[in-house]
Symmetry: C2
Subunit: 592 residues, 2 copies
């Protein structure tokens, strides 16, 4: 049976000692003292371990079933959803005007981490609902907010996002779903959407579908796409449920993982829809939620790596196989635990340094979203828009890689389903694909975000890292072991950005051919920066005579590991980028 | 429905233009002219595509079932096995004295590639049988050979390898299975073995289990392990089947992939066993087959990547999404095929350059095995022993990574089982684990093979690469684009080896902490060397006025790609290695 323990101490270290959230002047942050965050996150961890974790393997094995148009979720999911509602876990950062608790998004994010680690497929029902909540909160009329938000806040109703069609995934401009005005202000929505997570299920009284569709006569391409609220049951004026809408789940997809989440083909047959936001501005409405939605997927990337790591660590401490070549560590037994072996430890350090670095990066991103949304901080908005593709792409690529590494430590036991390690790999795989496949994230980063705001966000990031290094490099050990490697990695990244700028005017493919390498370089620089900040915080705590010295010493050792073993990747990525588009584009499509 | 076409032209290019097998003086090679290899490989490709490929998805979906001790394989597997037997595909390189065709192992390997690409799980029944054949051929008495080999050659009987126990995987010295002498020359074998591929099934009349067990009173650890032949049905003197032996399949494992192959828990309850080879020399007997068995797994690594790549390429040419940013390529349709996008092309080039490089490396390895086995070439034996962990570890790690990359190009369609891409990823995953997990391969390479023979094999490899570069560097383009990057990568590898030698006397962990990085560096150098040889062969063909210019130009472009985009990885691995054991071993096991 897989284990999970929410890393409460690590979460609080990042919140209070690295990000110093209590000292942030953004509304809501002053309430986040250590006692408050500790109480919330401890309870979230308990719910994750006791309620959600036991259902993770169940969900994987049972999957969802479609019978006569009704989707049944795995045994226990209904009770778990009730527990999530009753514990208030669905409403942490929602608007108090609609039943939410009004806490910052970063607290929602930290609590989500535990839920996603323990049961990613289950948590998606809530995650999609949060997305629908945000869309209606930002773009809805007050009447729409009143009608839908209070029930979405509690997950009494859940939400979905209907974007993809069989022939239109990344390229939404070519979608075929149509929304024809009914003449009474509503629209008749007709078309087929695929890969709709939580599209139909038995966990909620109503499902509020957000559907992208084209209004006939509108502009071509993505400029003619509008966003609609299409509820499974129409909602009466008094809030009660009315008629069943003309939409149905045509099929459940059989997937590599996240079996506990119903991935639906949704058929809309003249379903009644309500325009959300402005006509033809559906893509823009989607974009305003995108940083948040993608941060949620970035979190899935490392949250799956985290639970895989926790189990691999426990296994490495228990599994006896071979001897420490520098001397037996367990002489009374027939073998030593495999954690004595350097290659096992290398893998565990890879996993640990990634998970902890990604956690810091993600929480930092969440505070930027808070500053942007709650305090109208334009710099924070620019920075998080720049960082979003890196968070999503890097953390899901690496999160998957680390889940595979954790599985590997189990040998054959990792490959059979009994131990649960295969599931982390299979579940983590989807995060590289949905919410914009990672190649699209790289394209977004290099093709759009680097140059956004005249390059101010990226220059600001370089400046921030440079200033941080400068402010702390009087400490010789820290400088040599952590800050110098970060400086070198950051310089590699700047050189790559310069290469793109030089190339951009001549051949855009020179930049695009290096997009994924750039995304990964930037991921390493960001995690290297997080590790530098964690190292500085750890040294400060040690200098201040903190009691828990082992905790801080471990942070310093892990920071050194990341600098020594992960940051050298930037040189490789730079060399690839600087080779330009020629090697990549040399062949004709027919010559492969 | 997935596609597969055996890459016949590429196979022959490697055999005849790069390795020049017909000019090899090893027995059996003189027969390998172009017509012969072409006829064999074309027919193998046909069988793979027409017989095995259609059963691949079937095998994944149906899996195997255990009912009353009987294992039923998926629909169609019996017919396919009959087709393999009747076509002679099970006996290509087997000894003519026992019904084999006596062709070189490299021909077996090339034919296997097509079978493994088309249906890895099915082909394992044959693959394990070939391993059992080799073990009995090398270590058996003439009576044992006569009794078992003719039926193993045809796969009328199949074979297994019983090594792993619940508590003993990598560390076989701690196994508990016992073989007690019956007094009549036979042994009573008792114990439980797990993860036994093809352990029980309905594809053959008899199953010949090779079982590692300890004879009571023998030495401790691996020095007390013996190898036994334990048939499912005892074989009478006249070759007919006798009594059912005291062994059974207790359970089928549910696995991440290779569902079509029965992975069994095998219980031996005083089963009659026959000693194979000498008492207590079972591990040595296993080792003599290891290069061959591991090369077979190395082949699985790239063969799965190959079929995944072929499908991803077809999809990338057909799927219309977005526009070429340098100008529409498909202006009459609503979008361009995604192969126009540089990041898609980068991924395809990664896959293509890996698969073709790995094919050359594997076939080269197979010819070294031929030279070693058929001509007693000690240098070839030393070199293949050195290269084996690299072939197995690098090619299965990268093969999996490339299958994931191919799946990624399908977006959401790659994650659902319908398109078959998930299966390649799930199937390829096992190759990193079995036949010695890849961490063990790295340990074998750095801890044993580097220093083997006083370092002669590794020095010989460096010398061979250096001489090759020197012999061809008068061509300025080739030098700059392919040979110089190979030289730099080879120098990085030598620097890493020097670091290990300097460190070895002081702290063995300095080498062990860099073992996986070294294995990957060496994999890149070997594939870089293969690409240099392919480039030289391609230039020679072009200079000689070859008709198929496009084929050779494509080879040159792909060689340049590998040099520009893959070889820079060696610098990263070297930096990690040179950081030594300190960052890896800094934490106490309790501090993670």
């Amino acid at each position: 049976m897989p284990i999970y323990q929410s890393p409460l101490r690590d979460m609080q270290f990042i919140l209070h000692e690295v990000l110093r959230v209590s000292e942030d002047e953004t509304p809501g942050f002053a309430d986040l003292d250590r006692d408050t965050t500790g109480a919330i996150l401890e309870e979230a961890g308990r719910v994750a371990a006791e309620v959600l974790l036991p259902l993770n393997l169940v969900g994987d094995r049972e999957g969802c079933r479609l019978e006569n148009g009704v989707v049944r979720t795995p045994e226990g999911f209904k009770d778990a959803m009730r527990a999530m509602r009753e514990g208030g876990w669905t409403s942490i950062d929602c608007d108090p005007a609609y039943g939410g608790q009004g806490l910052p998004y970063v607290m929602h994010t930290a609590a989500q981490e535990a839920f996603v680690s323990a049961n990613m497929a289950f948590n998606m029902y809530q995650g999609l609902t949060h997305g629908a909540y945000s869309a209606i909160h930002i773009h809805g009329t007050e009447a729409q907010r009143q009608a839908y938000l209070p029930r979405l806040t509690t997950c009494e109703w859940t939400g979905t996002m209907n974007l993809t069609e069989p022939h239109a995934g990344t390229d939404l401009g070519i979608m075929r779903t149509r929304a024809v005005p009914n003449g009474d202000g509503t629209y008749a929505v007709t078309g087929q959407k695929i890969f709709i997570s939580s599209g139909e299920h038995d966990l909620a009284e109503n499902i509020i579908h957000l559907v992208l569709a084209k209004i006939p006569g509108g502009p071509e391409g993505t400029k003619g796409v509008s966003l609609f609220i299409v509820p499974k049951y129409l909602v009466n004026e008094d809030g009660s449920l009315g008629a069943r809408n003309a939409l149905s789940c045509g099929k459940l997809e059989e997937k590599m993982g996240i079996h506990g989440n119903a991935t639906c083909v949704m058929n809309f047959d003249g379903a009644t829809g309500y325009l959300l936001g402005d006509e033809h501005k559906g893509m823009r409405a989607m974009f305003t939620m995108m940083n948040e939605a993608r941060l949620g997927v970035a979190l899935q990337g490392y949250a799956q790596a985290e639970i895989a790591y926790q189990n691999a660590l426990a296994y490495a401490r228990e599994r006896l196989q071979g001897r420490d070549l520098t001397g037996a560590k367990n002489p009374n037994a027939h073998a030593d635990p495999i954690i004595v072996h350097p290659d096992v430890r290398r893998s565990l350090m890879d996993q640990k340094s990634f998970c902890e670095g990604a956690r810091a990066f993600t929480y930092w991103g969440a505070t930027l979203i808070d500053r942007s949304h709650r305090a109208g901080d334009q710099d924070a908005e620019g920075l998080i828009s720049l960082l979003t593709p890196v968070l999503k792409g890097f953390q899901t690529d690496k999160g998957f890689e680390m889940a595979v590494a954790a599985q590997q430590l189990y040998g054959g036991h990792g490959y059979i389903e009994e131990w649960g390690m295969s599931q982390y790999v299979r579940d983590a795989r989807i995060a590289m694909i949905y919410e914009g496949a990672n190649g699209i994230q790289a394209l977004d980063l290099v093709g759009r975000k680097l140059a956004a705001g005249g390059g101010k966000p990226i220059m600001g990031l370089f400046e921030q890292i440079k200033s941080f290094i400068k402010a702390h490099e009087e400490d010789a050990d820290l400088k040599a072991q952590v800050l110098d490697p970060l400086k070198a990695a950051s310089k590699d990244l700047q050189a790559a950005a310069m290469f793109f700028m030089g190339a951009a005017g001549k051949n855009p493919n020179d930049a695009l051919a290096g997009a994924t390498d750039f995304l990964h370089m930037m991921g390493h620089v960001c995690l290297g920066y997080m590790w530098a900040r964690m190292a500085v915080a750890a040294r400060a705590a040690l200098a201040a005579g903190a009691e828990d010295r082992a905790f801080y010493e471990t942070k310093l050792a892990t920071a050194r590991y990341y600098a020594a073993r992960q940051l050298p990747a930037t040189g490789m990525h730079l060399a690839r980028i600087q080779s330009g588009a020629a090697p990549v584009m040399a062949l004709e499509a027919a010559s492969f």
